[in-house]
């Protein structure tokens, strides 16, 4: 059987890859995909703990997270499309009319 630690380490690595992706990539869609990767790494953690404890709470939360990710995708892509219609670009470096 795969030990709990293995799942936790894998999901931590996934989470860090996702967070690095958000910080380094400049395409709005790729950034969004990286965020989804972060959410899915959390799902993995939750499922691992849930199986370890033999308790359903973690898996219930996973369903909520998946629903949220779907809702967020709908809203996020709609925003990206609205912006693309105005500016013809989704490169985050070029989306900068407001700056201090």
């Amino acid at each position: 059987m795969v030990p709990l630690q293995a799942y936790l380490i894998l999901s931590a690595i996934m989470f860090i890859i996702g967070a690095m992706g958000v910080v380094t990539r400049r395409n709005a869609i790729i950034v969004f995909l990286s965020i989804e990767l972060m959410l899915n790494s959390v799902n993995l953690t939750l499922v691992a703990f849930s199986a370890f404890f033999g308790d359903a709470t973690g898996q219930v939360l996973v369903f909520f997270v998946m629903t949220l990710a779907a809702a967020e995708a709908a809203v996020g892509l709609a925003i990206v499309i609205a912006l693309f219609r105005r500016k013809q670009t989704i490169n985050l470096d070029e989306i900068n009319i407001m700056k201090w």
Partner: protein, 474 residues
Amino acid sequence: MNIYLSDILSNAPMMIVTVTALVVMIVEATHRTKPIITSYVSLAGLVIAALFAVSNLAGEGQSFGEMVRHGGYANFFGTLFCVVAIMTVILSRDYFEQQKYHRGEFYILLLFTTVGMMLIASANDLIILFLGIELMSVCLYVLAGFIRTKERANEAALKYFLLGAFSTGFLLYGIALIYGAVGTTNLLMIQNLFAVVSNNPLFVIGAGLLIIGLAFKVGAVPFHMWVPDVYEGAPTTVTAFMSTGVKAAAFAAFITVFIRTFDFLGGRVNELIALLAAASMILGNIVAIAQTNIKRMLAYSSIAHAGYMLSGIAAGTLDGQVGVMFYLVAYTLMNFGAFAIVSFVERKDDKNLLLDDYIGLSRQQPFLAFLMAVFMFALAGVPPFAGFFGKYYVFFAAIKSQMTWLAIIGVLASLVSAYYYLRVVVLMYFREGHADVVSKPSRTALAVVVVCAVAVLVLGLFPSFIIQVAQRFF
């Protein structure tokens, strides 16, 4: 787990707002060309919900299988959120008419945001807390970019969305690790097991990630990057709503998790929160001085105010909690009033948003200028107004918890803040020149602002009322 009628009745305010939102969805579909009808229906629902919330302030308890705590603390914030939403609905009508973008969907999104905020304040389980925060945020991403023909609004929505979703990842990872350390997500059970788990590294890391996630939502330095851009780009009434109601909801989550449940991991975490507070107060106030756009200036000021309130959270005592709750009420009233006046002065296509556009406002609209001056003095923390007592309570709580340095930074930072708040007053009263013609706001909208101003004064003269109510909810 069964759901009983009593569960629904004891959470009446939240249920009423939810049902109103669903009704408004249908009304909006059948009366697409008359958004005014949707605005009246949402107003009616929110008023009823607010009345239910006030009437049930005393009856505390748990419902929905211990997932939700109703009454008391939840209703205190529920009332605040409903009042903010009511004021936003009233102002939005004029504002969006003037921007030529009045749509019924606005009210649906606003109502669902309010439901999310109320869910946060009544959470007794990390799952509910998470659901509330996300229901609120997802609706807000859309509201921030509501005028979708405006490039600035699109940009604000995208920035808010990406950073908000990013912070959700941290929040969620924190919740997952806490679940792993404790084996439950129920806040009361976590509180009972707290002594056992508080040294577990998983739990400490989880709490740290939770702080990052929540600090993003309240807009504290160093997680504040989105605040100025989003507050500037969003429609002004939405900014008013975000900077008051949504900030209050995020602080409700902070209090629920860190003061009511965690007891600060034996004092290790409140040092960290104190650092966030100090950084927010210093950076928010100093950068606000350099701003030329009034919405952006108020955005940085709201970062600074998040810092003041975080020093109450860092105190981590009943005094701190009461101070933050009082500050939230006071801050909501004065900041909403200030943004409301900005929305009166603003013209289509982001005209009249610069500080220089306020030159000579006292001659053209003496009453508006007077109200703006009241809010500016209140935000600066000048004594007869509520802002002063808010600061007094949070800093006093910090001193009592041996954080005198934090209170000193806070007082110095608010001295700096007086400069840019009073500059607005100087521009309005003592500078020659005349602003563009500002049309008179409608009577209902003006009434909202007058109510805010009077409440700021009354709370400043008799602060004990809110304090006594807030003291009961530890």
